[in-house]
Symmetry: C2
Subunit: 294 residues, 2 copies
């Protein structure tokens, strides 16, 4: 480097010293995401900053399913100050928990906000547009985690034709591959199935029944859904002698692979900082006692 300086013009030298490495802000990371989405950015959306200053220089990115305090602690400990999360951070779909009886004074909420502030973390939610990508990135993550590429229906990315199995065996495969602590089955768990719909997360009654109304769909896999809606529907369908069953994996297990997919995708156009997928512990698994936490 000294030789080059002595040689004169050196503006073409791109080997910058670490302190001169180009910094990237949280806002700039999100702008790159928008550019690489492949679909138009639409508002209103929940895909916004939830905490922290978007102008913060990013030192590392943690990509996660749900930004629980545990995930935030791990991210902070590893110097990951931008957290990209799929689920809400503050217990409400709009991250605005107005229904908390003690409001912003609620101790649990206040402690979480304080942690974020102390560690200068920035939290951004990637949900609506992640699902809207030409290949729903969450579904894509599930397909890769399950190894179901060859089973996916070319006409509908949420439908699969799998080798015949029973609902019970399918739930076991999902439990293992997607790390679902407590999968639950409604309908006939012994029934044989081959035509499967996978609606990750809590897509809601309209989408879930839309899948179940497809005549050859025999089982719907989802994250969570109200029992007086889709679950009662499947229960009645079973009573009517129809081949319809339901497997609920829990929200995190049904979408988490999509965040691992997201981290891989991000690395293709963000190389300025390290990017890590941080799994959210399944909330139904036996947790490590808070006292013995790392």
């Amino acid at each position: 480097m000294i030789a080059l300086l002595l040689a004169g013009n050196c503006c073409a030298n791109t080997a910058l010293l670490p302190s001169e490495a180009k910094k990237i802000t949280a806002q700039e990371v999100i702008e790159r995401i928008k550019q690489h989405l492949g679909v138009e950015w639409k508002e209103p959306t929940v895909d916004t900053f939830k905490a922290g200053d978007p102008q913060t220089t990013v030192t590392g990115i943690a990509v996660t399913m749900m930004s629980t305090l545990d995930v935030l602690q791990r991210a902070a400990a590893q110097g990951q100050n931008l957290i990209i999360t799929h689920e809400p951070t503050f217990y409400d779909h709009l991250d605005n928990p107005t229904e908390l009886p003690q409001g912003q004074q609620d101790a649990v909420l206040a402690a979480k906000r304080a942690f974020i502030a102390e560690h200068h973390l920035v939290v951004w939610r990637f949900h609506d547009h992640q699902h809207r990508m030409r290949s729903d990135q969450v579904e894509l993550g599930n397909v890769h985690a399950l190894g179901w590429e060859k089973y996916q229906d070319p006409a509908n990315q949420y439908l699969f034709t799998i080798p015949e199995t029973t609902v019970e065996q399918l739930a076991e495969e999902l439990r293992i591959k997607l790390h679902a602590a407590v999968p639950r089955i409604a309908g006939d768990r012994q029934s044989k199935v081959t035509r499967v719909a996978f609606s990750p997360g809590a897509a809601g009654f309209r989408r879930e029944i839309g899948a179940l109304e497809i005549p050859d769909v025999q089982v719907l896999i989802a994250g969570e859904t109200p029992e007086w809606e889709t679950v009662e529907y499947v229960t009645d369908a079973h009573t009517e002698g129809r081949a319809k069953a339901l497997i609920l994996l829990g929200h995190i297990a049904s979408e988490q692979a999509g965040m691992e997919e997201c981290a891989k995708w991000l690395r293709t156009f963000v190389q300025d900082v390290p990017i890590e997928f941080l799994p959210t512990a399944d909330m139904w698994a036996a947790p490590v006692s808070a006292k013995t936490k790392h």
Copy 2:
């Protein structure tokens, strides 16, 4: 009877022939319920007729947690043509499933409606006012099923001080006594608890967090709730080292005892027709195959 007739005035004879027994309509049963509630009737409410003609003469009453088609079939087979249910019948909180992609042509819905019409059933929902009774009748049912009368807090019917146990052992007690197929625990399942809140059904974030914010409440029992709301809250509370855990029993198991309580209560002022509590099978239990159904 003939002797009395020959004796002259017999208007006081109350031993009526069966065909002359005073008939009661579904509407009249509901009017008696309103009179015996002990609280004012308030509208708007979901406590309305959902199907059938309220002027129907009642031949028997089935009281149930959720009027699944299976429950309706059993009621019809036993001559119970008035079904009093706690949960929706038509997959929607207002029993108006506008989100069904195929609308009223949806095969599952249409078959259920057809069954109700063929058997001239009447379905009425008892939900809002049942909870509003001076003793929330659903909670009362749970207290009786659990044998927790002596543990109940005189100042708050949803709070209990029980002999110290662990969250895991408590979940097991609830599984057995309330017939919950798949109880789930969030937070530390090994933690010792004595102060318990029980919020049956899906009361929602505001009520659930209201219970958890009470400083000495260590565990909340509920039916179901969104994972990005109360469950994430409890998960974070646990990470913060707070003694807060959650047991979700499933909706039916968390309220069904209240319908058994309801049937007993109804019999105290409705003796015109037989009244039976018909349990709804837990939707997460392995069901009997539809082909071998009774």
